[in-house]
Amino acid sequence: MSSGTRKGDGLQPQVERELIRKCRAGGARFYEPLVRAYEPAGLRIAVAMMGNVEDARDALQDAFVKAYDSLHRFDLRRPFGPWFFQILRNQCRDMLRSRQARFKVEALDERLELRPADAEKGPERLRQRAAARELLWQALEHIGAEHREILVLKELQGLRYAEIAQVLDIPEGTVASRLFHARKALKDALMSMGAEYP
């Protein structure tokens, strides 16, 4: 999958704006299409930030509720996605802090989505890819939340630097440097776990 194919997915900007206007007027039912459109992307971010599905779903639910309660402050000229991901990211961080919930890694095996391109490469290649993914997933536990979140937004969510800057509320110029430190931390963690790279 190429980066840039993920993001919020699904809703046209004008439809999104119309739904938000109706939600602001008190129609909670108009929030459903927004929730359903951003749920898959939100869950991916939350799972990668929290490390397990249970905590991720709790964070996602609370983030959607907080976003709904703050819709009156939302600037309709901007896209909903980055704004919501910012709330979600804060929610995940709050949960990790307040509940003393450590980022705890859950086995990936049952939830890996087999991509057709992988399946064509044969069982040995599949096994290697799965092992690499598992190792990477474990390595995420060893890097800080700040590193994890920027990696998730870039690699898993495929956001551009400008969008990442908006979500993390940092200058766009800082994104590259944060990404470098995050990737370096991940590389060090992977190397210490015995990963082999060229």
């Binding site: 909670a28 929030y31 959607f64 509720v65 590259a176 470098f180 060229p198």
Partner: protein
């Protein structure tokens, strides 16, 4: 002497965030530096592995919308119901207390009603407490 490649440039190169002329400049330097090639190869391999983590979390067939909707709409419903019930009860008590009738009869009726409310309240409270600690409350079939 070629311009030094910073870490930021390298990240932008890997992520396709450079202007075409800067991209070409780094590509040219890459061809001459095996160290740089190795670094880019490592970061690209990590990037690919990371993007392979595109998994579908278990239980994703069950939308979080139900839980969100519950949290958004229920407080309003509860508020209206409790507020309306409180007004009705207050009015009922007032009418009952000010109506003509035998005081003993009123006392007996009041005792039955209060006893019923106390029993109902304790059962509801007990069930609520159990529900709060129920480990299976979010388990779906």
């Amino acid at each position: 002497m070629p311009e030094r490649i910073t870490h930021d440039d390298l990240m932008r190169f890997i992520d396709g965030e450079l202007a075409p002329e800067d991209h070409a400049r780094i590509e040219a330097q890459l061809r001459t530096s095996t160290e740089l090639q190795r670094e880019v190869a490592i970061f690209n391999a990590m990037k690919t592995d990371f993007q392979d983590l595109s998994f579908q979390p278990a239980g994703s067939g069950h939308s979080v919308w139900d839980r969100v909707n519950r949290q958004l709409t229920r407080p309003v419903g509860w508020l209206l119901m409790i507020g309306g019930a409180a007004v009705l009860v207050a009015y009922g008590v007032f009418v009952f207390a000010t109506s003509p009738g035998d005081p003993w009869e009123k006392l007996a009726i009041a005792a039955v009603v209060i006893g019923f409310v106390v029993l109902l309240g304790s059962v509801v409270w007990e069930r609520y407490r159990d529900w709060l600690h129920d480990p299976y409350r979010d388990v779906y079939r």
